[in-house]
Symmetry: C2
Subunit: 477 residues, 2 copies
């Protein structure tokens, strides 16, 4: 429920139609307009993926030249369908989109995902304005045009037209994505699909003709399944409102954002991609900071930083590092210093206790180096104390799984430690198939994993920054 101010070339419109994002994100019935029998058409792939994903609601197909596609009854026009329809997924040539959307309006459909490109991004501003006007006239929540569509894992709703054998879909989880670029978004989804980490919603919103980043962040803030929000943004439609929505959102859940088109050259490229004006990057960065948003510096950071919020937030800066490889420990300590975190220490009593239980060549300190000949037992002994130690705010467990002394059970010692504490626990390991398997087991128990000690410390420092900023903003509020 909101007033929307629409800037058209003709002037500013103020409309009070209820535009509800839920109509497009959580529809109980969907019609695919432009569904096709031809497997090389996007309209075919969309219908197929809706069927493969096992969409919970009712599904209809619209195409005047077919009676049935993939076992789904096909109608000549949306107006022919007698049943109630919540949302239309539109994949037809750009010029035909306004008429199709008008028919959706007449039919009482309140949500639409326009996959088709060929609008503002190629200079067809008038065509895009028509979409906006029709949306306003009928109160249709529109995602797109020029987008990849959405995934709602809980509802088994998958409008993405990329083949599932080429792009894996993730399991249900806590992270939701808002992405202006379909390419960036689908890369992330595919990477996450390979891991043991789940997602809740995925929204590729393209040109943002109607629903923009501010509307979507507002929606995800209230969405119960979403606990972490990841965004890829090229340009912003309503700067002030975006800031306000972000600020409200970070009080409830972390937002990790990557802004592309930061340089002057890149902002030109962004304009021809989704028709966005990228704006001044320094102003944008400080806006994000003030709003409590974590700004990622690259694609790989988006996923890395979001994962850290799968574990608990650190209450302070004191990090404890446990390792069976000295070199990795040194790298972690380097990072603790350069990211301005602190070295946590055990109290003297615990140190003496640990020294008695461990061989003399173990390096008792921080990093706590149980050395390369360690079995699972040393990890267990040290972690049992670390989870209780009041001076430790966060635990990094580095494991060289490749050593002969450790067996696969050590991941359960790490999982048990994580389950028995309210401190964040992060695992670090890298390697081939054997190590990857151990990491995926850790992830399936909600433990964030990283390939390098440096990354692990970096993301912990971001989580700590977020917590402090949030607590501060809560007090100010």
């Amino acid at each position: 429920m909101q007033w929307t101010f629409v800037l058209l070339d003709k002037g500013v419109f103020m409309v009070n139609k209820k535009i509800n994002v839920k109509n497009v994100m959580e529809p109980k019935s969907i019609a695919v307009i432009g569904a096709s029998k031809n497997p090389s058409k996007i309209g075919h792939a969309i219908l197929k993926n809706m069927l493969i994903s096992g969409y919970i609601g009712k599904l209809y197909a619209v195409n005047p030249s077919s009676d049935e596609i993939l076992g789904v009854k096909c109608y000549n026009s949306i107006l022919e369908i007698k049943h109630k329809i919540d949302c239309a997924i539109i994949s037809i040539p750009a010029k035909l989109v306004p008429q199709a959307l008008e028919e959706c309006g007449k039919k009482g459909i309140k949500g639409a995902i326009i996959i088709s490109g060929g609008f503002r991004e190629v200079g067809e501003v008038e065509l895009e304005n028509q979409i906006v006007e029709i949306s306003e006239k009928y109160g249709i929540a529109v995602i797109g045009p020029n987008c990849l569509g959405i995934v709602n894992v809980e509802k088994h709703l998958d409008s993405i037209f990329l083949p599932t054998y080429k792009m894996k879909r993730p399991q249900a989880g806590k992270i939701s994505f808002i992405t202006q670029s379909g390419a960036v978004g689908s890369t992330l989804i595919d990477l996450i699909g390979e891991s043991n980490i789940g997602i809740s919603k995925f929204i590729s919103y393209g040109n943002a003709a109607v629903l923009n980043e501010a509307d979507l962040i507002e929606y995800l803030r209230e969405d119960k399944q979403t606990e972490i929000i990841v965004m890829y943004v090229e340009g912003v439609k309503q700067g002030r409102r975006f800031y306000e929505e972000l600020k409200k959102t970070t009080l409830k859940k972390p937002v990790i954002l990557l802004k592309a088109g930061k340089g002057t050259l890149a902002s030109k490229a962004a304009a021809s991609h989704t028709g966005s004006l990228a704006g001044d990057s320094k102003v944008f960065s400080s806006m994000l900071k003030q709003a409590g948003v974590i700004e990622a510096q690259g694609l790989e950071e988006l996923f890395d930083i979001s994962k850290i919020f799968l574990t608990r937030l650190p209450k302070g800066k004191n990090v404890f590092v446990l390792t069976n490889g000295g070199g990795s420990g040194v790298l972690a300590i380097d990072a603790i210093e350069s990211y301005k975190m602190k070295l946590a220490s055990f109290d003297k009593k615990t140190i003496n206790k640990l020294k008695k239980k461990l061989p003399s060549h173990v390096v008792v300190g921080n990093p706590f180096d149980v050395t390369g000949d360690s079995g699972n037992d040393r990890y267990r002994i040290v972690l049992e104390e670390a989870v209780k130690e009041p001076h430790i705010d966060a635990i990094i467990v580095i494991t060289l799984f490749q050593t002969a002394g450790l067996n696969a059970e050590v991941v359960h010692d790490i999982i048990n430690a994580s389950n028995s504490t309210d401190k964040p626990l992060v695992a670090v390991a890298a390697g081939g198939a054997y190590t990857k398997l151990q990491l995926s087991i850790l992830e399936s128990y909600g433990i964030p994993t990283y390939e390098s000690p440096t990354q692990a410390v970096y993301v912990l420092s971001k989580a700590y920054w977020y917590k402090r900023k949030r607590d501060m903003n809560v007090r100010i509020k």
Copy 2:
């Protein structure tokens, strides 16, 4: 052939024994001292891995309590063996090492890898000094102690005691590694073992009692199979000589180096790891720069940067970006600006030619966005021109393999383009199993691949820096 200056607690020794690194890196016969029947012992794993790797030379086992281990005849002492032995791999308790090394000397063995820990890193300075003295007395090239040993892929020599099912060994290739930390080294090896990239030598040198980083870099400079050198260093024994060796080496091949223990806290940790004094980090960094060495900022960068040298060096700064995902293109352009590279452009004639061959919604420019509905043909058409264009110094090909329009053959279009030019060509893609397969095919043809456009530009900028620095140093020389 070199004079070695040895700093002992008692004073400075100057010795003229010939210590030849080849004796330990390329031996024709090896004895494993401390070979064991017990599968949980390191001495068992070493012998086993030497057998599994199919070592080309003669192999002997030494252990007074066995007659035969894993089918290899076992001797009571090294002195009992009648045949000539080039190198001993020693894995016995630290206190017994000096005597064993002394026997090696008497037997005329000129190379030794001491795996055992328990020396300077735990305060046993005197024990380590004994090793140095014996090495000097007999002219034994010693690697270690407290190390993981070596791999020489061409000779099928693998002294690493980590099980092969836990740590994959890479195929033969151009990259060689010198690492002070066994943990860091084995993580890298395992990661590379999973890829389609090969290595030549791997040297984990631990405490560097005799052979240090300067000796090893000198050896790899002259090694014909080694074309790229990767180093992980905690501290340096002979600073001035190290600098000179590095400077000479970078004239011939790139060196990528990660220095750990840069902070004051971390250098304390390094001391208890390999007994190294880590030194001042700013001085060290500027020394590397002057020597033409590329300094990596973290573990992940070591491998990323080294891969770029599998392709050709860029002659200039002008980078061309081809993509089927607009967002990824924008990220690449951002990176080109922030890493101070330049946007390459086609001349007008080529632009007109390309416009005629491609659909109108393709964004002709840089990034050159063939858009999400592209088939292989558009990649082929644009690459054919890009490889010839004189204003382009380097090509980044971003491929969203997930799209329906591209089939698997597109990797061959990229490979053909790379084979038909003297410009560096780098591929960017990320995703799950399907995409990973395509990336590994590209790698098998010597094309460096990266998960993000930002990384690809970053490593290209490093390659360009290296080339300029090298050309400058060659002129000065």
